[in-house]
């Protein structure tokens, strides 16, 4: 998926077309006012202030309270939210956002350009590390009038707009945060945003209730009276609640993959894995290149060819997710479908290992590696067992090590592993979510950096070219080239483009309409009678 600057500009005009798509999704049924949507959050979020906490459950629930300037379609085209329209200067350095009129915060204060500038330059800059890295590129932020925001960048940065989704840059009320410690301000406990639902009640360990905001800036919306998120810690209870109709919607990891096939068969439920295109997590076997013989490209290719990715997605994840073909997920911008890793071929894998001079011993073992099992639940243990058996077929003995989540993060961060499993969000653009795990300048003792220690000057150069180029075409050339190189060198063994099932009662309409799925504001969600 490539987006030219002209394409971005045209997206404003394309918005009405998108609305029609949403109507079509509702199958011609006119939205009905009223009703309460019940759903589940697990685990319980610590706070509902985006920025202060950006974990999955927080983003889901607070996504109804807060809004960003934009959101993104499943193909990552920008869709206007609080920004009515925007223009980008030809040199790619100046972004001007026109804001929607009549937007009010839940406490009645009108939202103006001041709140937007405060949110970008002060609030998220201070509390959110991911936003800080990008917003540091902003040279000047001005408000020529109360409904216009002009951002001037130090250098062109093509993925800049992707940072204006609610999950990355929620617009917060300046008057409730300015001059206070943002993390401990009273508004963090009683969040106030511009979204279609306002925070009503939170019984810790029990439920969070959001109610309809009558002064919402889209007239007649939202359609729902309230949204209730129940806190249900046990996965089997969550499944039961969905089956019995106590909740109408589950998302993320609420339902285990092995429960999905049974729920797919239910006539009243809709199971979808869409709505994660913006995040597009990619799972891979993380190799530590400092461990011999993983520094040998033939060995990495052999490991990659010994694994049946279809088995993993179909048998372990029950069809939730799809086999990875390359380091950039197919739902992320600049994915090049022509760059592909070699498929399953056990014989060729064995031949590569022979060529690398790794002969099998009497037991058929060429070499032994340790594998740190990802401690995120059972399906990941099954994956480790599967990898052990697959690699044994080509003569690689994998010795499994169990650990807990804290130790896993510490050991990966400290490079104390041979192999493990990792999955990383791509945030729509390779510069935002892919580059960090392959360039040699980001070899750090921190998780989700290039912890494996892969280093290739050509790859560094191509990623830098793509980062600094102002034009999408130039970026695509660089990204295509880097995907080809990475598919040859397989620095990590990509396994699966992960997906999370969103399961909802068919009564609920318009649940997934954007590339952010259940993280959207739900102002257009309604329940049929």
């Amino acid at each position: 998926m490539t987006v030219s600057r002209r394409g971005l500009l045209a997206a404003t005009a394309a918005a009405p077309a998108l609305m029609r798509v949403q109507d079509a999704l509702a199958q011609g049924i006119a939205p009905r006012r009223g009703g309460t949507l019940t759903s589940i959050l697990s685990p319980e979020p610590p706070v509902l202030q985006i920025g202060v906490n950006n974990q999955g459950p927080t983003l889901v629930a607070a996504g109804k309270i807060f809004q960003g300037l934009l959101t993104f379609s499943p193909t990552l085209e920008p869709i206007p939210v609080l920004a009515k329209s925007w223009t980008i200067s030809p040199d790619g350095k100046e972004y001007v956002f026109k804001l929607q009129e009549g937007v009010k915060f839940h406490d009645g204060h009108p939202m103006t350009a001041d709140d937007v500038i405060f949110s970008i330059m002060k609030f998220h800059m201070e509390v959110a590390p991911r936003a800080r890295a990008i917003f540091a590129l902003i040279d000047k932020a001005e408000a020529p009038d109360p409904l216009t925001v002009r951002l001037t960048l130090k250098q062109p940065f093509q993925p800049f707009l992707l940072m204006f989704d609610n999950s990355a840059c929620a617009i917060v009320p300046k008057h409730l945060f300015d001059g206070q410690d943002y993390r401990t301000a009273p508004a963090v406990q009683r969040p106030v945003g511009t979204g279609p639902f306002r925070f009503a009640e939170w019984q810790r360990g029990n439920f969070i209730r959001l109610e309809r905001f009558a002064d919402y800036w889209k007239s007649g919306q939202p359609y729902l009276d309230a949204i209730i998120y129940r806190i249900v810690p046990d996965s089997q209870s969550r499944r039961l609640a969905l089956e019995t109709g106590q909740v109408l919607l589950t998302q993320g990891s609420d339902i285990e993959p092995f429960d999905v096939p049974a729920l797919r068969g239910r006539p009243n439920l809709e199971v979808s894995t869409k709505g994660w295109e913006y995040f597009s997590p990619l799972a891979w076997i993380e190799l530590n290149h400092r461990v011999k013989p993983l520094d040998d490209v033939r060995v990495r290719q052999a490991i990659s060819m010994a694994i049946d990715r279809n088995f993993i997605t179909q048998r372990l994840w029950f069809g939730v997710g799809k086999p990875a073909t390359n380091p950039i997920a197919s739902t992320t911008r600049f994915h090049d479908a022509s760059a592909k890793i070699a498929g399953l071929d056990v014989k060729a894998a064995a031949a590569l290992l022979d060529a690398a001079g790794l002969k099998p011993n009497a037991q058929g073992v060429r070499f032994t590696l340790k594998h740190l099992t990802l401690p995120y639940g059972e399906v990941w243990s099954r994956l480790a067992e599967y990898l052990k058996q697959s690699l044994r077929q080509v003569g690689i003995a994998l010795e499994l090590e169990s650990t807990d989540a804290g130790s896993w993060a510490r050991r990966v961060g400290a490079w104390e592993y041979d192999t493990t499993i990792n999955f990383v969000y791509q945030f729509g653009d390779p510069t935002l979510g892919v580059e960090r795990t392959y360039v040699s300048t980001n070899i750090q003792k921190v998780t989700f950096t290039n912890t494996g220690g892969y280093s290739n000057p050509k790859v560094d150069e191509l990623f830098a070219t793509a980062r600094n180029a102002a034009d999408a075409k130039d970026r695509q050339v660089a990204f295509s080239a880097v995907q080809k190189i990475l598919c040859e060198e397989v620095p990590q063994i990509w396994l699966m483009e992960m997906a999370f099932p969103t399961i909802h009662d068919k009564k609920a309409r318009n649940v997934i309409t954007t590339g952010l799925g259940v993280h959207a504001s739900f102002d257009d969600v309604f329940l049929t009678a």
Partner: protein, 281 residues
């Protein structure tokens, strides 16, 4: 010896238990021939019910043969049971003998030390130890041994306390035998019967403990065990009951057999108690 066997045989349950136990040992011993290759091999299609695709007890979620898992798991379960019990006996008997024979300050010190371990819930301690030393067969055996020795120490101490005042021990002391040789050749053989009975029950509880640890994912990740089979099958029990039911039956039968054998041994080694119980029944 013939007398012992006759008394053991009188307890029908014990004979049944012994037969089951022998069968389990046989299964463990012949596993490499019955189910060649690794129990981790994905031998068939995943989720095959029992009897289909030539899999007697079905396959698990990765297509691994459940029957092969149970046979190979028997080796691990019995091994863990035997080794951890042996280790617990070594510690327990030594400390119990020291405390019971020497008495005084040594007795006090050893018993307070034992009580320290007895006050900590044994399963929690086992989980903690395995978690600290990272799950492996060695750490599991170590953890089970650590939590199982205190009862042995107490039983042995009690036996030694009652035996050390007997005439034959006093005679041995007068004869000038060394303490060590009195403990080993005079007292210990006479204290053996409760230890034998206790150890058969300890093997059973060690197998249960190992299964519980594996069930929680704290077993050796490289070894197929019964607890692992149940733990990994539990989540899909609504789709595939056989993955957790058959290993559950295996644990149930083995532990039951060991308990029955333990009771039989107790009867055979304490004829008077057995007769009383027989009379009551």
């Amino acid at each position: 010896m013939r007398d012992f066997w006759r008394r053991f045989r009188r307890n029908k349950g014990a004979v049944v238990g012994l037969v089951i136990l022998l069968l389990v040992v046989l299964l463990a011993a012949t596993a490499p021939w019955l189910f060649p290759g690794s129990p981790w091999d994905m031998a068939g299609a995943p989720f095959s019910p029992p009897g289909e695709m030539g899999m007697l007890l079905g396959t698990d979620s990765l297509g691994r043969d459940v029957a092969a898992g149970i046979a190979h798991g028997a080796r691990i379960s019995l091994l863990v049971g035997a080794v951890s019990t042996a280790a617990a006996l070594l510690v327990g008997v030594t400390l119990g003998a020291v405390a019971g024979y020497l008495g005084g300050i040594a007795d006090d010190a050893v018993m307070r030390f034992t009580e320290f371990f007895q006050t900590i819930p044994s399963f929690v301690l086992a989980i903690l130890l395995v978690a600290i030393f990272t799950p492996s067969i060695g750490s599991v055996v170590f953890a089970i041994a650590i939590v199982s020795w205190p009862p042995v120490a107490r039983v042995v101490r009690a036996e030694f306390l009652s035996l050390r005042g007997r005439e034959f021990v006093q005679a041995a002391e007068v004869l000038g035998k060394s303490r060590l040789s009195i403990v080993l050749t005079d007292i210990l053989p006479n204290a053996l019967s409760p230890i034998v009975v206790l150890s058969s029950l300890m093997v059973a509880s060690a197998i249960l403990l190992e299964s519980a640890l594996s069930f929680l994912g704290l077993g050796d990740p490289n070894l197929m065990t019964w607890g692992f089979l149940i733990g990994s099958g539990r989540s899909v029990i609504r789709l595939a009951w056989w993955m957790s039911v058959f290993p559950g039956i295996a644990i149930f039968l083995t532990v039951l057999a060991l308990n029955l054998v333990g009771e039989g041994l107790s009867d055979a080694l304490n004829p008077r108690l057995a007769r009383q119980r027989g009379g009551a029944a």
